[in-house]
């Protein structure tokens, strides 16, 4: 028998401390708020689970969550296929490949609020180039028509984040050995068959990461609607995170906001877990079968 030296656990201590101060402690502060009604820093009362019960019946919050879900689903449905399509037609090597990569990555390196401001000005129907044209053609006005507001935020998100999907898929495509394409050519496979039977199966893991990242980020979208529509028109683009900020910072209702934050956090965890489970189902079936 080897004697175990448990002192090695001390080596993990720095990580635990860092995680504690950056993630666990702030989260516990939120949890602490969530079970109290805070009037001001000096006076607070313990309210137990009251906020949680209230939130589950709060139509404003429930519809904000529903909006976030709809937004995420639509964003995924557009960005994933579009990202794959763009990655497939990008040049494979040489200076053209580098140029294409740089061009595609531009939206990813612009600060988020700059993106918001740029699109805000671009889309205004009085002074923005795009907004003016669309206004003349389709009577577009994102400040008054809820559909236009929603469509604009969705467009901005697609513009901003499809490049991430493109980069991931592009990397995935480049890692497929040339022999698979050669074999497909030998077998007389059509371009669609190559996509379906060679590329898609090999991209599964990369797409899993892309879907998870894009789901989480689009579900938490904040900056773009905050800058462009401010959650409007009406409450058309009041997503879960916008409403949370309104409650926490606007109304300074930190108890309710704390409970809301925890629920928000747990919903994202559960959704990510579900996505991951469903998308890796096939892998695990194979593992259990071979055992």
């Amino acid at each position: 028998m080897k004697t175990r030296n448990n002192r090695a656990w001390f080596l993990v201590l720095p990580v635990i401390l860092v995680v504690a101060f950056t993630a666990l402690l702030p989260l516990m502060t939120v949890a602490n708020y969530a079970i109290q009604d805070v009037f001001n820093p000096q006076s607070r009362i313990f309210v137990g689970m009251k906020w949680f019960y209230q939130i589950t019946n709060d139509q404003l919050i429930i519809s904000a969550f529903r909006r976030s879900f709809q937004f995420s689903i639509q964003a995924l449905l557009i960005q994933i296929p579009l990202g794959i399509a763009i990655a497939r037609i990008m040049p494979k090597s040489g200076w053209k490949a580098s140029a294409a990569l740089v061009a595609v990555a531009v939206p990813l390196i612009i600060p988020w609020n700059v993106i918001g401001s740029t699109w805000l000005i671009f889309s205004r129907s009085d002074i923005g180039l795009g907004g003016f044209l669309l206004n003349k053609l389709f009577n577009f006005d994102f400040t008054s028509d809820p559909k236009d507001g929603w469509g604009l935020i969705l467009t901005v998100d697609v513009w901003h984040w499809t490049p991430l999907v493109v980069l991931l898929v592009y990397a995935g495509l480049r890692s497929i050995p040339e022999a698979y394409y050669q074999a497909a050519a030998i077998d007389g496979a059509s371009s669609f068959a190559i996509f379906k039977y060679v590329e898609l199966p090999k991209l599964r893991r990369v797409l899993l990461i892309a879907v998870l990242l894009r789901f989480m980020d689009s579900f938490m979208i904040y900056t773009e609607p905050f800058v462009i529509t401010g959650g409007g028109p009406g409450d058309a683009t009041t997503f879960a995170s916008i409403l949370l900020t309104n409650i926490a910072v606007g109304q300074f209702d930190v108890g309710r906001a704390g409970a809301y934050s925890l629920i928000f956090f747990i919903v994202i965890q559960i959704m990510s877990f579900l996505f991951y489970t469903v998308l890796t189902l096939q892998d695990r079936e194979e593992v259990t079968k071979t055992k």
């Binding site: 050669q182 074999a183 030998i186 007389g188 039977y197």
Partner: protein, 362 residues
Amino acid sequence: MAEIRLENVGHSYDGGTTFALNPITLTWEDGNAIALLGPSGCGKTTLLNIISGLLTPSVGRVFFDGVDVTDLDTAKRNVAQVFQFPVLYDTMTVRENLSFPLKNRNVAKDVIAARVDEIAELLGINKYLDIRPQKLRSDLQQLVSLGRGLVRRDVPAILFDEPLTVIDQNFKWTLRGRLKEMHNSTRYTLVYVTHDQTEALTFADDVVVLNQGNIVQTGTASDLFLAPQDEFVGFFIGSPGMNFINASVSDGSVSIGSTLIGTAVAEHPIPNGEVRLGIRPEFLTLSSAGTGTDVKINRVEHRGGYKLIHADGPHGNVVAKLPNDSAFVAGEKAQLVFHPERTYLFRDSKLAGRVSTKGAGQ
């Protein structure tokens, strides 16, 4: 099944500065098994890809049964190719993998089913038809890739690019046997790329030896072994390869240093000067008679059925393959005895003639 003819075919990957494959012309008869043998980077895979159409040659034309196919793409040429590692479609079962080349060519469903069963039977993979290939061992996976190559009846040729690289040593023999059997029963034209001489020699009717983008010799296994036309063939074929000793020719007599060993036999008389004398370890023996070319035995290796004697001399180091009962030990002095028929002379690495030791006092 077709006759394959290459006319002046060469390829350069860098626009003509250097040729990975220098222009060559050759014809392979219908139904033959041909091996392309050579070290890594000799141009053998390039040549294979030119035949399958994965690569368009920089110069020259490719003909199948007299029809110029140089500009046809891979699918239209209809050749089959098996790659170095198993290339399979992960989401398909073994059966679907085998059907895929036929399905893409719109073959009727019942014909596909019958053909897939037949091929699976031939390769002995029929019990795996309904599972996914990822779950199989790599050698079985490679059999499935092989099956995808064999499934079409009308292919002009089946090309193999080192298909046994991933296969376990023990199973290589079985698989090589199956390939050979398959070839005997179907008479497809097979082109087989390998750097493994055993594979090439056991498998092929004709072996093409390539080195640095050139064909150095084409022939049967025994041609390459017994009558190498080039120093490279002598060195590359055989285990261990041919011995080379510096010698000289003077008015038809061959000497090593100052020791006369025999007379030169050649179609065209060999001009006086330096030559390299080549002899396979199998045809070199040692004696302790005291006359002849002296060497000092450096190391004796027991190889089970025979001994390898490594010996050093002033004109080159040699290896001799001797029976187990030979009594030479390391450190001893001995003299070289050359086989009267199998001792060759090379000049500028090309075969120039051979040495007849008859009548020469050794």
